[in-house]
């Protein structure tokens, strides 16, 4: 009997802690990551609608997991190149990860409607290589709807992606403009 009560209390405690953890965590309902490369020769764009992210409303921790094969290009050949071992090697590295923290979290109030300019400091891992990032984002709160918008300029060489010669070196920009929109 004692054991039963004990295990019941334990179960209650565990389920409560799981519940408490989830309560502080906002999960994306939808998201959009866009790569944009501009050179004088051509503009290339790729879109991804399958990323999953969270914001911890207690700690300001922010996470995105990005499935790399979900980036869709207009041209099939470009998409094959992008995925291949010479470029992003998405079979070996199927996901990119952004893990950061809102540094000016004190200004943020998830319960009050408004647009908040936030700074996110953390780490971005693409292609198996990590880099420290410090980026700006806007978090909009409107009732229960929370939206995040950000633009990151990613230098390909930082993630071990370099083109020495041939078409890619002239047609792909060295810095890729990456826009992020997420709804929680």
């Amino acid at each position: 009997m004692k054991n039963k009560i004990l295990s019941f209390v334990l179960l209650l405690a565990v389920s409560f802690s799981v519940f408490a953890q989830n309560e502080n965590k906002l999960i994306t309902k939808k998201s959009h990551f866009k790569f944009y490369s501009h050179t004088s020769i051509e503009d290339i764009e790729a879109n991804n609608y399958k990323s999953v992210g969270t914001i911890n409303t207690q700690s300001g921790e922010i996470v995105f997991s990005v499935p790399m094969q979900s980036f869709e290009f207009e041209k099939a050949k470009m998409q094959q190149h992008y995925n291949s071992p010479k470029f992003l090697d998405t079979k070996k590295f199927p996901k990119a990860k952004l893990k950061g923290k809102i540094t000016n979290f004190g200004d943020m109030n998830f319960k009050k409607d408004g647009e908040y300019n936030v700074q996110i400091e953390g780490e971005l891992s693409i292609h198996g290589q990590s880099k420290q990032i410090n980026e700006n984002a806007i978090i909009s709160v409107k009732g229960n709807s929370i939206k995040l918008n950000s633009t990151l300029n990613l230098t390909l060489a930082d993630f071990g992606i370099a083109f020495k010669d041939g078409k890619p070196s002239t047609n792909i920009a060295k810095v890729i403009k990456t826009t992020v929109v997420a709804e929680y």
């Binding site: 953890q21 965590k25 999960i27 309902k29 939808k30 998201s31 959009h32 879109n47 609608y49 399958k50 999953v52 992210g53 969270t54 996470v63 997991s65 499935p67 790399m68 094969q69 979900s70 041209k75 099939a76 050949k77 998409q79 094959q80 190149h81 992008y82 995925n83 291949s84 071992p85 090697d89 998405t90 079979k91 199927p94 996901k95 990860k97 893990k99 929109v181 709804e183």
Partner: protein, 162 residues
Amino acid sequence: MIFESKIFKATLLLLGIGITIAILTGIYMFNMPHRNIKTTNTDYQLKTSEIVNEYLQNPTSANEKYLDEEGESKILEITGKITSISIDFNNQIVILLKDNDSKAGVTCTFSDESKIIAQKLKQYQIVVVKGVIRSGASYDEDLEMYENVILEKCSLINIIQS
């Protein structure tokens, strides 16, 4: 002289044909259309629980089996229960196939051409969906949650149970 010029003409003609073929191949490669997932043969037929468990048990071998180096990954037909339906930022219909007792499921984003059929789908139906796999199921310790298997460019094969 006449003979020589004939050879010259023939060489020129062959060269011309060669160059034309090279240019056309180049243009074709550059504008090569995307693979049509709906009309390409299915590689594997699986239940939601089978693909999810395969990934949770051994992600490395599952990635080796299902993902392709150039992103032309395996085409799967998945049978499962619709637990939720949503619309993404690209205005496409997304369904989640997931068993009640499972840690993760399979999300399927329908292609534009399958949209009208997908609009008729309802929660709790058991369906067969065909699509291309983009990534597997796994527990992410930073998100502190399980991520689903991702299938895109999906089409509806069958409704098994309404």
